[in-house]
């Protein structure tokens, strides 16, 4: 496929790997030292890294940390419960992106609600949900809006069209989240030791390069805006490591074929028109983060499912055994979580990172060597016990 296949060429991947290896000396890496940790923030990148086996190609002195940028994974349980309650109203057709169907709530997922008779429908686009509203004037169609700035413009534009066309039986249940406060929360967490970042390419396509300046200016970490094909990821890893080797830190754009420096003005306009920041938003595994979510402005209240159906804000704690928070911050590797592969699997996810194929735990589970990983975990536990008793 055009603009895809060219970025999957194995010979070029090999050349990039050799460039990366060539940086070892310049970076002053000693054998056996702690590896350099790079975080890919976005779940889409996590997916590519696992799908194309990028981790095993990298030298052992580079470690990828899989960040919290999978909107499905960080959706808190209370919000899923809200969705299920909305979907179970008899007048409602509840529409959602397919990715959100299996996220566990405290009682059930949307998929289970559908099996129990709720009218839940998967739609590819919020526009399809609006179309459904037009065709079913006697029903209330709710679209479950989630995602970072990548999907935010599409729901904003859909709501604007609903208002312009006077479609009264359509509303948005807004659970959109914002990227910058979340990266900041990761950077501010005391146990974090990440050396550089791959920035989400499709968020950047909307917001541009400048919102990431603070990572270089304030936190002095290199950051590269990255595309989603294997060569994009490898090239960006090389670019971040080159910055580290040259003791520089700036925002660089590897994905210039898609990301204009100033983002997308029309998309930003639509978002600003419909949405405003929330004081805070709850995240699964990360707790509450200030200004990390948006809600709909008063002018669009008639299309706000939260107002229309008086949705209560539920706060439901994650199960105690979940260690998603530590995994998301890079403190624990997915397979180091106590219930990975045991109580928590893609069939019966306990934590959110096991739900979507973009979640780090699900990725390890589907692409990793499970017995080997679990043996490694046992080994570590033994060493820890020894350390403590010594």
């Amino acid at each position: 496929m055009k603009y895809v296949d060219e970025f999957r060429d194995p010979a070029k991947a090999k050349a990039l790997i050799s460039q990366i290896n060539g940086l070892k000396e310049k970076l002053g890496i000693k054998d056996g030292a702690m590896p350099i940790q790079l975080m890919e923030f976005c779940g889409g990148h996590t997916h590519t890294i696992f799908r194309y086996g990028i981790e095993p190609m990298l030298p052992d002195w580079v470690e990828m940390i899989h960040g919290p940028g999978c909107p499905v994974c960080v959706l808190p349980m209370g919000r899923v419960d809200n969705c299920v309650e909305l979907a179970e109203r008899p007048e409602v057709i509840f529409t959602t992106f397919g990715d959100a169907m299996r996220v566990p709530g405290s009682k059930k997922s949307l998929l289970q609600a559908k099996a129990d008779g709720a009218d839940v429908r998967m739609t590819y686009s919020p526009m399809d949900a609006l179309e459904l509203a037009k065709r079913n004037p006697m029903r209330e169609v709710i679209f479950f809006g989630l995602g970072f700035e990548t999907t935010m413009p599409s729901t904003a534009l859909t709501v604007i069209q609903a208002k312009n066309q006077g479609i009264k039986n359509f509303s948005l249940f807004c659970n959109h989240i914002t990227t910058v406060p979340t990266i900041k929360a990761v950077l501010d967490s005391p146990d974090m030791r990440i050396d550089g970042f791959l920035a989400p390419g499709h968020v950047s396509m909307v917001v541009g390069e400048r919102p990431f300046d603070f990572i270089a200016d304030v936190y002095h970490k290199p950051i590269v805006i990255t595309g989603f094909e294997p060569l994009d990821i490898l090239q960006s890893i090389w670019m971040v490591l080159s910055q580290l080797a040259e003791k520089r830190c700036t925002v660089e754009n590897q994905y210039a074929r898609i990301v204009p420096p100033n983002g997308n003005p029309a998309a930003l306009n639509a978002m600003a028109k419909v949405f405003e920041l929330r004081e805070f938003f709850e995240w699964r595994g990360l707790g509450s983060i200030d200004h990390s979510g948006v809600k709909m402005r008063e002018e669009y209240q008639d299309f706000d499912a939260e107002v229309k159906f008086a949705v209560p804000l539920l706060k439901i704690a994650d199960p105690k055994s979940c260690q998603c928070g530590e995994v998301v911050k890079g403190v624990l590797r997915p397979w180091e979580c106590k219930i990975f592969g045991g109580a928590c699997t893609p069939e019966t996810p306990m934590g959110a990172l096991m739900v979507s194929s973009e979640g780090a735990c699900a990725a390890y589970y589907s692409f990793g060597d499970i017995p080997q990983l679990l043996a490694k975990r046992e080994q570590q536990i033994k060493i820890n016990i020894k350390d403590k008793s010594a």
Partner: protein, 96 residues
Amino acid sequence: MCLGIPGQIIEIIDEKLMQAKVDVAGIKRPVNIECIVDEQHPPQKCIGDWVLVHVGFAMSRIDADEAQRTLDLLQELEEYQEEVEAIKSSQKELET
């Protein structure tokens, strides 16, 4: 949901609603083009454009020159790599 897919705009369906028909990997479907049009690039000029489609919205025109620049750089790396390999293997030949 967050991964877009490249597609090519083949016709404008409704200029007022900013709807175009886009060929996405062989599937033709209506896509909203509001985010990629402006005064310099009105809907009619979009026909033939390659765009990145996210959840039914064209979110970015794919910049063919930039794509080529990235590929050229990767090509150079690959050639450079071949050169290095050639030097290495000929050295090995000399040593044996």
